[in-house]
Symmetry: C2
């Protein structure tokens, strides 16, 4: 049975194109001996495009993107962009228009990777961040702007529909892992949204008697991420808390540079989007200094989402092996120094 | 010139009464040789009171509290309390009704205090958290509760008036410290509120040319608190981000158990409230195991707020000396083991 993956590729700005090139290299390696053909369409979106044309994401391109099976994004943005233009107009636009209600963010500490924690323990958890509601809904406004009477609001929108589908996904994931689910919210202050989340976890949880659930206020969760990150298995939380926790998780595991993510629509109604958590890092762009591991791991999530679990596992295993090699080399006092492409080659060669 | 401080004391639940007793012991010691008399009124508020009477904060008691010069609170709550009752009905009610728009939270790492960071560096910063707006305004609601069509909202309210007064306070504080101010927000997503905060910092900052300002998204701030906390001097941020950052700050400095805070109304229109950041810790309540340092440091903030800067400094110096003694003892392999009261006695004796 032959199959074609129509992949929309958004290399973006800064180090985006470099890391995406390696992601695709490894993706091709993983599909080499399969019946799956890769059909890429590149989309020129991001800061460079905006500077050149003033366009962020024209409707026609959004429609074209929708006709693909999945999206691989590098990173977009540069320091000269006005705040919010690409975030709201491109990244969040894609997440919302393609109904990416699951933002999947695994966190793992690889042996030998320097971490700011004295004793990181065995960090291996996944944050399931809601992707289409909360304070990210863009619901808010301002009146009397730039006067002493300005009022600016931001509205967090939470629906039973939206919360239940992400909570269900998180419980399912927990059954495939260590059967532990932590809800993070702030229901003692955000009583309306908090109680919706809490009730939903209780109700859905009754269908998963094998999964142990607990609850942490977001402030307490930021403490545990530093003092005892190994306690977590699956965390489910809202859009903003997930944003905060996953960056902190990146920090404790030794860098956002290794963190993969998927913006997933599990129904398949729209293509899901996979991207490294890191940004465009303009300071090192074009120098082959960026680590492509986060993008390569994102490609593994992409394959898994498309039902190619074996291929996904082979990439994940190749990444693990590469990280082991780095750790061994560093321990031997000869840390590996490789270009972005060399890392891609090395991981690809292991597949 | 004789002066009386009318102090409203809310010992609260769990370890609250124990740590408050030591705070008052040290307060009395600091005032011993002065013309200032302390006149305490104790208010029985918190979980125990609610369990007994169903009351949280009756209006008459709120009025009585208002007639005091300052409030010292231990901690309230126990695990059997329904979520939000004491938080919204007592703690936030006091912050909002007494217009505590400055939530002052210093973070400092004392030598010898175990921290989860491998290399904490020289951590000494202050978070100025807005206390009367944002998502804490209690503005939100829910419709079709407990149905598949439930919608729950939480509204973050931000006003020019509210933002400017806290930003001004933060700039003033920066001039008394290292002249560095960091605004933390998420203006690339929360564009309305974010831009109000940003414009306000720019505008007020023009009056403080000696203060260097920078900006971090809240997710990036959680990273830097782990990777380079020594970079911060004064952080100014909104109510929710401040809640999150100060708990993480407590974690990296070796424990929320040492962190003091003031809920301050700088105009003096209402009494300000001082409290340790930690909770009521029911598991160790009544055992004289709690460290009263956070409460004692809160008392120093209280005196400073009331214009008794010398007395405040003497308490701060006594706390520093006690922390040095702990560090020396631990280094010598004989860590100090003291009851809550013994720590209070030791600090009091140094004054
Ligand atoms: C760029 C920004 C809109 C985005 C977010 O806040 O979700 C980023 O921080 C992330 O975590 O993917
Ligand atoms: C108890 C709770 C309402 C409170 C808050 O969220 O402000 C606490 O976490 C704090 O930081 O003082």
């Amino acid at each position: 049975m032959n199959r074609t993956i129509r992949l929309a590729v958004i290399p973006g700005d800064g180090i985006g194109p470099e890391v995406v090139a390696e992601g695709i290299k490894v993706l091709r390696a993983a599909l080499r001996d399969s019946d799956v053909t890769l059909d890429e369409t590149h989309f020129d979106l991001g800061a460079a495009r905006w500077h050149r044309t003033g366009e962020v994401l024209p409707d026609a391109e959004l429609e074209q993107i929708k006709s693909h099976d999945a999206i691989l994004l590098g990173a977009v943005g540069d320091p000269s962009m006005p705040s919010g233009v690409l975030e709201r107009g491109l990244l969040l636009k894609l997440r919302f228009d393609l109904d990416h209600y699951i933002n999947l963010r695994p966190s793992k500490h690889y042996r030998g990777v320097p971490t700011p924690l004295a004793d990181p323990g065995d960090i291996d958890f996944v944050v399931i961040r809601e992707g289409t509601e909360g304070l990210y809904a863009g619901n808010g406004g301002a009146v009397r702007v730039d006067t002493p009477h300005e009022i600016a609001t931001e509205v967090s929108i939470n629906t039973a529909y939206g919360v239940e589908r992400v909570v269900r996904y998180a419980f399912e994931l927990a059954t495939q892992r260590d059967n532990r689910l932590t809800l993070v919210h702030k229901h003692n202050v955000l009583v309306n949204a908090g109680h919706l989340w809490r009730r939903t976890v209780e109700r859905v949880g009754a269908e998963y008697p094998g999964v142990t659930t607990d609850y942490l206020h977001v402030d307490a969760a930021t403490i545990f991420l530093v003092t005892d990150p190994a306690r977590f298995d699956v965390i489910v939380t809202d859009n903003l808390f997930g944003d905060i926790l996953t960056d902190e998780a990146g920090a404790i595991t030794g860098g956002i540079g290794l963190a993969a993510s998927g913006n997933i629509n599990p129904t398949g109604a729209y293509p899901s989007m996979f991207e490294p958590v890191h940004g465009s890092a303009p300071d090192i762009a074009g120098q082959q200094k960026a680590d492509p591991i986060a993008t390569i791991s994102s490609v593994a999530l992409l394959l898994d989402h498309l039902g190619l679990a074996d291929e996904a596992k082979r990439i994940a295993a190749a990444v693990d092996a590469d990280m082991e090699e780095r750790a061994d080399a560093a321990e031997a006092g000869m840390p590996l120094i490789r270009s972005t492409a060399e890392v891609g080659d090395a991981v690809g060669a292991r597949i």
